[in-house]
């Protein structure tokens, strides 16, 4: 390595009170490289990113940029030093239009426009309020805004999460070219596919410490996982479930029947069944109506047409309580939507118990403790920081949101992308849990943005495209390429090559009935 690093951080430490979020992290990024930053949840990735981008200041450590020691005290200072982040949550000001947002950050408009086009968003009105722009597009705008000022080091935090495949491809392509242009990109992702395709090296964090820097070569995944977890983990074997086993447990009457469900213009004419003891997967690109489907089933929004039947009875939900009374519980993808962050694990799990008016009276504390404890044990929630849920790691928070409905003994659980942004170990536990639930006769509707999860968890897969249900697969048929094809709205059997890196602009050419 003859070139000197663009960014060189060593011995970075950060304490929150008594808890050390980072103990001894280092990260060295060379010009022209795409550098992955990896680590299980709670390893300190986000803390390191926040320190590098001036969002918080470190307790110790040294940050050199182009060999010069810099004290990055604020995002503005990081910007001046040539470090620009794109965070997981969009950072455009919701109530300002895009143009004002650019002006606010001093971003030149023309390069921004060019990048936006490059990233595959053709029709952007700069006068639109950021609030009215869909999340996926906002993230891309964030990226374009960062690219427009030509930063030396670009930090991308889970950049492709929540992006539809076509946008994700564009983004990956642009990121790769950044590396070629002699700049550097720090790329944080849970997806090995992307990292393998994109990155040159990876820095792995564990428990707030840098435990290794590896070159990305084929087969390095095992090594990285090992570094992340500190122990060798058996690669989870795809659990193939026999058809006969399922047929035996399938009851005569479905648990939930959805008929011709319609929600505004987002969802139309969706019909399917969900049986007891079944995990039905939902696969869709971003924003194809799956959010509305889940919200309608959970009673959060009212469908504009069609019927939902529970145990053969037509139901109308006007509030989540109605769905819960029918035994349907909703676990949202965003944990901050489901948890009272300042309250304890116990109160969070017990929350549904107090919901109904008749349960507003005195709480039977001993009984509640027992119920909550058994749910905690069942999910193996790490309760060291149980006083406040906000102090738990993301994976444990997600477990709490599920534990709540296990404790409440819900018969049907709607899980919306429950594994988004959580570490590998917890993901495995959640897969196992969902299967167990089905084994106990519960039914689960499971939306996932990661196709490989389908094989691990589901019995059947529903594919939604453009607000319509386009296909239902049995799990044996649901290999990733078939699902991907269906998610793009292509009929089965078509031989178009729609891989992750294919050009999304021409899928229609492959359509042959």
């Amino acid at each position: 390595m003859t070139t000197s690093p663009l960014l060189d951080a060593t011995g970075v430490a950060k304490n929150y009170g008594a808890v050390a979020a980072l103990r001894n992290a280092s990260l060295s990024v060379l010009p022209g490289e795409v550098h992955a930053l990896m680590g299980a949840n709670g390893a300190g990735k986000s803390t390191l990113v926040k320190i590098l981008t001036g969002a918080i200041s470190a307790n110790a450590g040294r940050i050199l940029i182009r060999g010069e020691a810099r004290d990055i005290r604020s995002p503005a200072a990081a910007r001046r030093a040539g470090l620009l982040p794109v965070y997981q949550e969009p950072s455009l000001i919701p109530d300002l239009d895009v143009l004002s947002n650019l002006r606010l950050t001093g971003t030149p408009v023309e390069p921004f426009r060019a990048w936006v086009r490059e990233l595959g968003i053709a029709d952007l009105d700069l006068r639109d309020s950021a609030r009215d722009i869909p999340l996926a597009v906002l993230r891309v705008l964030d990226l374009a805004r960062a690219l427009a000022v030509e930063p030396d080091v670009l930090l991308l935090d889970e950049m492709t999460a929540a992006l539809p495949a076509n946008l994700a491809e564009k983004v990956l392509e642009v990121v790769r070219r950044q590396g070629d242009a002699g700049r550097a990109v720090i790329f944080i992702s849970h997806r090995f596919v992307e990292i393998a395709a994109l990155c040159d090296r990876a820095t792995v964090l564990r428990d707030g410490e840098t435990v290794g820097v590896v070159d990305i070569v084929p087969g390095v995944e095992e090594e990285i996982v090992e570094l992340m977890l500190g122990t060798r983990i058996e690669k989870a074997k795809v659990a193939a479930r026999s058809v006969s086993e399922k047929a035996a447990s399938a009851p005569a009457r479905p648990r939930i029947t959805v008929k011709n469900l319609r929600v505004g213009i987002k969802l139309s004419d969706v019909s399917f069944d969900l049986a007891d003891g079944e995990v039905a997967g939902v696969v869709a690109l971003e924003g194809q109506g799956q959010d509305e489907l889940f919200a309608a089933l959970a009673g959060s929004i009212r469908p504009s047409g069609g019927t939902i039947e529970v145990d053969g009875q037509a139901v109308k939900f006007s509030h989540p309580i109605d769905a819960i009374r029918s035994g349907i519980a909703y676990v949202p993808g965003d944990r901050s939507e489901a948890l009272a962050m300042q309250r304890s694990v116990r109160e969070n799990i017990a929350l549904p118990f107090s919901a109904a008016l008749r349960n507003w009276g005195p709480i039977h504390m001993r009984k509640e403790r027992a119920t909550v404890q058994s749910a905690i044990q069942r999910l193996q929630i790490d309760t060291r920081a149980q006083g406040e849920v906000q102090r738990l790691s993301g994976g444990n928070q997600q477990k709490v949101t599920i534990a709540r409905w296990i404790a409440a003994d819900a018969r049907t659980i709607l899980c919306f992308d429950p594994t988004r942004g959580i570490d590998v170990g917890t993901k495995q536990e959640i897969y196992k849990l969902l299967r167990e639930l089905a084994g106990h006769g519960k039914s689960v509707l499971f939306y996932t943005s990661e196709l490989e999860e389908v094989q691990r968890v589901c019995d059947r897969v529903i594919v939604i495209f453009g607000g319509r249900l386009v296909d239902i697969f049995r799990v044996e048929e649901a290999d990733e390429s078939a699902l991907m094809r269906a998610a793009y709205g292509l009929p089965r059997g078509a031989k178009a090559d729609i891989g992750i890196l294919a050009d999304p602009q021409s899928p229609s050419s492959g359509t042959t009935p």
Binding site: T53, A55, S74, P75, A76, R79, P85, Y87, E89, P90, S91, L92, I93, P94, D95, L96, D97, S100, N101, R103, L104, T105, G106, D125, R127, D128, S129, R131, D132, I301
Partner: protein, 323 residues
């Protein structure tokens, strides 16, 4: 785009309401003329500044409970300084009082930023402090105001070439209001600082990540609020000729007009025009009720009902919009 239309729609609706109210007033009292309009403008003046003060901080995502107390303090300071002093001395008093408002407002912001105590609590504490200070400056209503200051808001603006009939509808008070607000607001709204104020109100985290100096912007927003409140205090002294240490009903009125003016409590949305029009609407309703010879106490009830109804309706509309 939608949002933009909605906001403009709200303000135009308010304008329409104002015109309807003028027509109603004219129907109740056929003699309602330019003179009455002049006194309306004078009565509106302190309210309008109070509302402007509140609007700036509300857009920045805060609230300022100390607006009325700040007006009382600046008013008594101005009145006691001018008591027995020469007319020219007032030329010094005015900038001094405005600067005082600006600094005390900045102090509000500084305390919020430094102590990280919620804005409601800080400005509540400042309400006590400023009220106390006002009482120390003047134990009872008193003091005086320079004649030229008083003259500044009475009478009309003579514009050469304009017939008197139109001239008469341009009270000086209205002109003072428009000039004072425009001099500060128009350049601000277009500046990066103005954008920053909207940004921290809309989403503090996003603003911080966009490199907006959140703390400094917040302090400036409160300082501007203090400046507007000081203008309100001066307006009080100018119209009454004295200073009163006990704050008037400006806090509640300012919040009501801000809400009625289409500025979301919570920040990031709205402008200054809406709340100012809203003040006129609220004052005119009061005028009409008085003209109808309704018991002032009943008037207070009706005013309260209107305010609550407006706020409920506004909340209902936003709720519908969200669904």
């Amino acid at each position: 785009m939608n949002h933009f239309l909605r906001r403009q729609g709200w303000v135009s609706g308010l304008f329409a309401l104002l015109i309807v109210l003028f027509i109603v007033t004219k129907l109740i009292q056929p003699g309602y003329g330019s003179g009455d309009f002049g006194s309306l403008a004078r009565a509106v003046l302190p309210y309008a500044f109070a509302v402007a003060a509140q609007t700036v901080v509300v857009i920045a995502g805060g609230i300022d409970l100390s607006v009325a107390a700040m007006m009382a303090l600046t008013s008594v300071t101005a009145a006691s300084m001018m008591a027995g002093a020469s007319e020219e001395y007032a030329l010094f008093v005015v900038p001094f009082v405005l600067a005082m408002g600006f600094v005390l407002g900045a102090l509000n912001g500084l305390l919020i930023v430094v102590t990280r105590v919620p804005d409601i609590v800080v400005t509540l504490a400042m309400l006590f402090v400023l009220q106390g200070a006002a009482l120390l400056v003047l134990g009872a209503p008193g003091g005086a105001a320079a004649e030229w200051l008083k003259a500044m808001i009475s009478g009309t603006v003579p514009i050469p070439g304009l017939p008197d009939a139109i001239d008469a509808w341009l009270p000086k008070a209205l002109l003072v209001l428009i000039v004072c607000l425009c001099v500060i607001w128009v350049p601000l709204r277009r500046s990066r600082l103005g954008l920053s104020i909207y940004a921290i109100g809309s989403s503090e985290l996003a603003a911080f990540r966009s490199g907006v100096p959140v703390a400094r912007t917040r302090i400036i927003a409160y300082a501007l609020s203090g400046l507007f409140a000081a203008m309100g205090g001066l307006a009080l002294t100018m119209s009454t000729g004295i200073g009163a240490p006990i704050p008037g009903p400006y806090l509640l009125a300012s919040v009501a007009a801000v809400v009625l003016g289409g500025v979301a409590l919570g920040g990031g949305k709205g402008g200054l025009l809406g709340p100012i029009v809203a003040v006129f609407v609220l004052r005119l309703v009061r005028t009409d009720l008085t003209l109808l010879a309704i018991d002032p106490n009943v008037t207070a009830i009706i005013e309260g009902l209107i305010m609550v109804a407006v706020v409920m309706f506004g909340a209902f509309i936003t709720m519908r919009g969200r669904q």
